[in-house]
């Protein structure tokens, strides 16, 4: 059976959900005729027509605003940001309007806001961002960051069927670099559940999105040195699967958090707080972080490589922690 890329998995999820439910529509810049900047929506307009696949002006606030309105009318819109960096232009609509809607006046916003995030493709300061933590800090949103093609498809389907605004961060580095065989039948992956990608006894590496792959690569290397790392893929940042993290830390007694987001205010800080609050006695060493630097994402390949975490940096940190 043919393998499916991460990108194709996302495209399949949209096709299948639009086939299943006429209330699902797609709105964004160049999503229709062009099929999206990364071709995630290629073929959608041909199959579902102009009314369901809507090309908009370059107006991120209006895209998100219109999607909110559509959800009020009972639709399940998918709004695309051409690059997730541009979500900054729609920050108000996401954080004040959509996120607070159900809490304030009981109006659910069943909207998905998806787009390519992340670095490693030399996109520079405005096409490489990992802005997830702005939104993890916003009650009322759900934040999903899949690391595999299977999860990308299953989580996107869950996001579309969810009654809340779900931010779906697709890692563009993974779009065409990873593929796997997917189930033929309809499947979903639940939002809010982490996955243990590799079992180990010596330390826990918690990560998400592209850095799951760097962590797994590091784990293989570490195993060669006799260090067995357990690798957890968060899959969802909000709501965070605290139980899976705590269960693993209680087993390995050591925690390393790896993320591509910048260091200060990244999810690692929150996870460290949770673990010290709830499993302090279980820790046999300090909680360590491997993250990007606290700078904008630089453009030159050498600079970006220096900026980003890598398997090598994870190995170095894990080795030190294991011997603590």
């Amino acid at each position: 059976m043919a393998e499916t890329t991460y990108l194709e998995a996302i495209r399949q999820a949209m096709f299948e959900e639009m086939d299943r439910d006429p209330s699902v529509v797609l709105i964004g810049e160049d999503v229709g005729v062009y099929g999206g900047a990364f071709k995630a929506s290629e073929g959608l307009v041909a199959r579902y027509g102009w009314e369901r696949v809507i090309d908009t002006p370059i107006s991120e606030s209006a895209i998100v605003g219109a999607a909110i309105g559509m959800s009020y009318a009972g639709l399940r819109p998918i709004a695309e940001m051409q690059f997730i960096d541009f979500i900054a232009c729609a920050f108000e609509m996401v954080t004040n309007f959509a996120a607070k809607s159900h809490y304030r006046w009981g109006a659910p916003v069943p909207m998905v806001l998806r787009g390519p995030s992340g670095g490693g493709v030399h996109g520079g300061p405005f096409h490489s961002a990992n802005p997830e933590m702005y939104f993890v800090h916003t009650p009322g949103l759900k934040v999903v960051c899949p690391a595999t093609a299977h999860d990308a498809k299953g989580l996107l389907k869950s996001a579309i069927r969810d009654n809340n605004p779900v931010l779906f961060f697709e890692h563009k580095f993974l779009y065409r670099r990873i593929k796997e065989e997917l189930p033929v039948d309809d499947f979903t992956v639940p939002i809010g559940k982490a996955a243990v990608r590799r079992e180990g006894r010596d330390l826990t590496i918690v990560s998400y999105a592209a850095m799951v792959h760097a962590s797994l690569e590091a784990a293989v290397q570490l195993a060669g040195e006799g260090i067995e790392a357990e690798v957890i893929d968060l899959r969802t940042l909000l709501p965070l699967d605290r139980e899976t993290i705590l269960r693993s830390v209680r087993k390995t007694n050591k925690l390393l958090v790896v993320h591509e987001d910048t260091r200060t205010g990244g999810i690692a800080g929150e996870i460290a707080a949770i673990v010290t609050e709830d499993a302090f006695e279980e820790l046999d060493g300090p909680i360590r972080r491997v993250t990007s630097l606290d700078t904008p994402v630089p453009y030159a390949p050498g600079l970006e490589e220096y900026f980003l975490p890598s398997a090598g940096k994870v190995v170095a940190a894990a080795r030190e922690l294991a011997h603590y």
Binding site: F15, D19, P22, S23, V25, G32, V33, Y34, G35, E42, G43, V45, A46, R47, Y48, G49, W50, E51, R52, I54, T56, P57, S59, E60, S61, A62, I63, V64, G65, A66, A67, I68, G69, M70, S71, Y72, A73, G74, L75, R76, P77, E92, M93, N96, F97, K100, S101, H102, Y103, R104, W105, G106, A107, P108, P110, P139, G140, K142, N163, N164
Partner: protein, 391 residues
């Protein structure tokens, strides 16, 4: 087009305008008694706009009132108790104390969307509802209000431009009350008429005397018919004056006294009462009956609010997410098959016309959503931007 309002409708308009004014005056009293939890944003002098515009729409249409549009909420069937309990942060309020002022709505039955404090947001939101309504085969229009100051926001531009290119059945009421908090309109915009903003979007606009409820109602009704027929959005500039401060705490000493005096002569309620009398649409007895009805409704509802409990503190934790408490259901007024493959399928290329007209390159895309019938292939393109599409 002349007003088609019946005598009974005239009296209804009076009822809502008077109710709007009396209710706000009562809330000022409650404010002075320290019973209003947050701010109080008066609409004195602007009642004709809230009431007249909302009254002109059909029950299935959607509205999103702004903070000074309590009159529109009343027209839509909300009661004084909803407004008072909201301001007093009672558990019986529409938001159960989660939000205050006129920040509430009702998606299911009244089709009222709650505002946020950030101005302009409602424009793309109501455009989205208008687009969804058209998609679902409903014959609705949507409407929201914005002040003169709100027209300076970025999302005003983005939203109205989207409404324009989508030819959305959407009405925007620009309530030009001359003041954005303490800043006069000439510091918001260099335009003499804010209606001229519509020109930049290629949409229709109308200017109306916002203190003449008959004109406001008629103008809005005509605009709604125009938008409902698929002609695109309409911007209505209703010229008026904010007769009090931005909110209860603001004495508005920055407003020239002569300006206030001049506008006092144009009070919308006084003018409408005069008209009712001149046209012999009521007599003193009718007026007294309506006024007494309003007084007793407000009295009962304030009593209800004062006797209502405050929200239990732990309820602060509830309701952040919809976990199955709501069902998402669209009101389909057309067969769903029309939007499902293969009937919905189209060729993925732009049906552009008049390419290079005036030497200006491609212009005049023909497939504005309302015109494209599902299942019908768009006209053959003169230019082929992208031919390849398909799974």
């Amino acid at each position: 087009m002349a007003s088609t309002l019946t005598p009974k409708q005239h009296l209804e308009l009076y009822y809502f305008m008077r109710l709007n004014r009396e209710l706000e005056e009562q809330m000022v009293r409650l404010f002075r008694q320290n019973k209003i939890v947050g701010g109080l944003y008066p609409s004195l002098g602007q009642e004709a706009i809230s009431v007249g515009t909302a009254y002109a729409l059909a029950p299935g249409d959607w509205i999103a009132p702004m903070i000074r549009n309590i009159g529109a909420l009343l027209v839509r069937g909300f009661k004084p108790r909803d407004v008072v309990t909201q301001h007093m942060a009672r558990y019986t309020s529409p938001t159960q104390g989660k939000d205050g002022t006129s920040h509430f709505g009702d998606l299911k039955s009244r089709h009222v969307v709650s505002p946020t404090s950030m101005l302009g947001d409602l424009i793309p939101v109501m455009t989205g509802i208008a687009m969804a309504g058209r998609y679902l085969g409903q014959k609705i229009v949507t409407m929201t209000w914005i002040g003169d100051g709100g027209t300076s926001t970025g999302v005003f531009h983005e939203g109205l431009n989207l409404a324009a290119v989508q030819k959305a059945p959407f009405l925007l009421i620009v309530e030009n009350n001359q003041w954005a908090y303490s800043t006069p309109v000439e510091k918001q915009s260099a335009l003499r008429d804010l209606a001229d903003r519509a020109k930049a979007y290629g949409i229709k606009s109308v200017i109306v005397d916002g203190n003449d409820i008959v004109a406001v109602e008629r103008t809005t009704r005509e605009a709604a018919a125009y938008a409902r027929a698929g002609n695109g959005p309409v911007l209505i500039e209703a010229k008026t004056m904010r007769m009090l401060g931005h909110a209860q705490h603001d004495a508005a000493e920055y407003v020239p006294k002569a300006m206030l005096e001049a506008w006092k002569q144009r009070d919308p309620l006084d003018r409408f009462e005069k008209l009712l009398t001149e046209k012999k649409l009521w007599d003193a007895k009718t007026k007294k009956e309506i006024d007494e009805r309003i007084a007793s409704e407000i009295r009962a509802d304030v009593e209800f609010a004062e006797n209502s409990p405050l929200p239990p503190p732990a309820s602060a934790e509830e309701g952040v997410y919809c976990e199955g408490c709501h069902t998402i259901e669209a009101d389909w007024q057309r067969p769903k098959e029309q939007v499902m493959p293969p009937r919905s399928s189209v060729k993925a290329e732009w049906p552009l016309k008049s390419y290079a007209a005036n030497g200006a390159g491609p212009r005049g895309t023909e497939h504005a959503a309302p015109k494209t019938k599902p299942g019908k292939k768009p006209e053959r393109a003169a230019v082929r931007i992208r031919a390849k599409a398909g799974r």
